[in-house]
């Protein structure tokens, strides 16, 4: 790999994203800087196609869904349900079992409240992992506390991986009702063996919940093949708008699960004493849903499909390999997680000796490089790693090798500021 050469797999994509035309800062002594965005694991930038789809929907087809008999309302219905169809197909799921939520946090809470409260009780266990984002950890803590169940953790080894042997041992105890884990860790980047894990859990009679927030934006995902009972992800990390998440559920489970949120749009009929629920997926979508956001998300998945998810993965893998290689040049820098890019999503979390991650991010910002610093909503994992925080650089379809070069330059310059 040569320093500064463009990434081969996805050239020229950046011009599809209007935000990269912006310039930042600038003064008498310094020209304005372009955006060097290495924080896509936190939230992705949006292609013109998504922005246009959102605005176009609001400008031309806006009405509430599932209620109106007039032509415009039928257009809004068609747009929203058509978006559901596209989003479901993108990950190999069915329309009726694809539920729109606010974000992946709400998707997981839906499972914890609706399925968990009815199916997890005293003497039962919920099994999660040490690498979970708070979104796939706190809901299970709350559920277990409320229901008198035990919350247990699969350990993360020194290479940032889980152990299938430990999973087998935990499942063999016979009390595990639910297993929840990330497809791709937002801190370590680890790509977990989802199909192997769900197959083992299923054989042991446990329901599986997979947090796909970091996976869907950057690799081919087929929820049928992965075999999870519930698979959640979020729009804004996948080039789509904020305010929309997705939960795919197994039909048999969804059918016998009571609603999470209740109110309008999710009922079949209501009288003063009781109500009955609509069919799937509407039973789990109370109130006016994120209509324009769904249309925007459909445009995002169409855009990703046009790029091809195999190419997107190849691009991010190649760029991540380049990033790992270049980060090794920085003295005192330690990357956490799997050693290579093969079993790692498009991110690298690291510490830099002598400079706190906050200061690392601040020093990068001076050079116009946007990276994340902190606990990444994974405080228990930080304690396992023996750190309070890390800096994290993550890539998206629009990143190029020059962005990684700018990061490394900023880190080297930052060490000088700190007299290292």
């Amino acid at each position: 790999m040569f320093k500064g050469s463009p990434s081969g797999a996805l050239g020229g994509v950046r011009s599809d994203f209007p935000i990269f035309a912006r310039r930042f800062g600038g003064s008498d002594s310094r020209p304005p800087r372009p955006l060097i965005y290495l924080d896509s694991a936190s939230s992705s930038q949006k292609p013109r196609a998504v922005i246009d789809a959102l605005a176009g929907h609001l400008a031309e087809h806006n009405a509430n869904v599932h209620r109106g008999v007039y032509a415009l309302a039928r257009e809004a219905d068609a747009a929203y349900e058509g978006a559901r169809e596209r989003v479901a197909a993108f990950v190999g799921a069915e329309r009726e079992t694809t539920i729109f939520t606010k974000n992946v946090t709400e998707a997981i809470n839906l499972v914890a409240f609706a399925w968990g409260r009815a199916n997890v009780g005293p003497g039962d266990a919920v099994l999660i992992t040490q690498m979970e984002h708070h979104a796939n950890l706190v809901p299970w803590q709350v559920l277990c506390r409320e229901r008198g169940a035990e919350l247990r953790y699969l350990e993360v080894d020194a290479g940032g991986e889980l152990s299938l042997a430990q999973l087998d041992r935990e499942l063999a105890r016979g009390d595990v009702r639910l297993v929840a884990f990330a497809h791709v860790s937002n801190v370590l980047g680890t790509i977990n063996p989802v199909a192997e894990m769900t197959a083992r859990a299923r054989a042991a009679g446990a329901v599986t919940v997979v947090d796909g927030a970091q996976a869907v934006p950057q690799m081919p995902v087929d929820v049928g093949q992965l075999g999870a009972d519930f698979y959640g992800w979020t729009g804004h990390k996948a080039l789509g708008p904020t305010g929309i998440g997705v939960l795919h559920g197994r039909r048999e489970i969804l059918e016998r699960t009571e609603p999470f949120l209740t109110g309008g749009d999710m009922i079949s009929s209501v009288d003063f004493r009781s109500a009955t629920w609509s069919e799937l997926p509407h039973k789990f979508e109370a109130g006016t849903p994120p209509i324009a956001e769904a249309v925007g998300l459909a445009a995002a998945v169409e855009y990703l499909e046009a790029l091809g998810m195999e190419r997107v993965r190849a691009h991010e893998r190649e760029l991540t390999a380049y990033m790992l290689e270049r980060l090794r040049e920085v003295p005192g820098l330690r990357v956490v997680g799997p050693p290579g890019a093969e079993r790692r999503g498009g991110l690298a979390s690291f510490t830099l000796e002598g400079i706190h991650p906050h200061d690392v991010a601040e020093l990068c910002d001076r050079a116009g490089v946007c990276i994340r610093a902190g606990h990444h909503c994974a405080q228990p994992l930080m304690r396992c790693l023996g750190v309070s925080a890390t800096a994290r650089a993550s890539v998206g379809v629009y990143n190029e090798r020059s962005d990684v070069d700018a990061l490394v330059d900023a880190l080297v310059a930052g060490r000088e500021v700190f007299g290292l």
Partner: protein, 126 residues
């Protein structure tokens, strides 16, 4: 020269004053910075209603460590009442660098923990 990472800030960061344990102590508290999970603890010895001595323990960014180090010198000798009345402006002015909204909590963590130990008020300094 860097606006934020001035020589004296980095000097306090690398060699923070009044860090370690203080035995015996009369007051102590522990606070977190929710942004990064950093922790800062303080132990305080009180004599005649004044802070006679104090020590911080913990880790954090240059801003939070330097702020604690710089504040530690100023806090000695203040009455507990005076400490309870110290606000965010006091700390920011003392630090003498432009602190952005996102780094404000880094700068104020030490005052939060000291006020928590002295007054039991665990709110962020206003």
């Amino acid at each position: 020269m860097d606006d934020l990472y001035r020589d004296y800030i980095l000097e306090h960061y690398k060699r923070p004053r009044n860090f370690g344990e203080l035995e015996p102590h009369d007051l102590q508290a522990l606070e977190h910075n929710p942004l990064c999970g950093d922790e800062l603890a303080v132990q305080i010895r009180v004599k005649d209603d004044r802070i006679e001595d104090l020590r911080f323990q913990g880790h954090g960014c240059a801003i939070s460590q330097a702020a604690a180090s710089i504040a530690s010198e100023e806090l000695k000798g203040k009455t507990l009442k005076e400490v309870g009345e110290l606000g965010a402006d006091w700390m920011i002015e003392l630090l003498g660098i432009p602190v952005s909204a996102t780094r404000r909590k880094c700068a104020l963590l030490n005052l939060k923990v000291v006020r928590g130990a002295v007054t039991g008020d665990h709110a962020w300094p206003a």
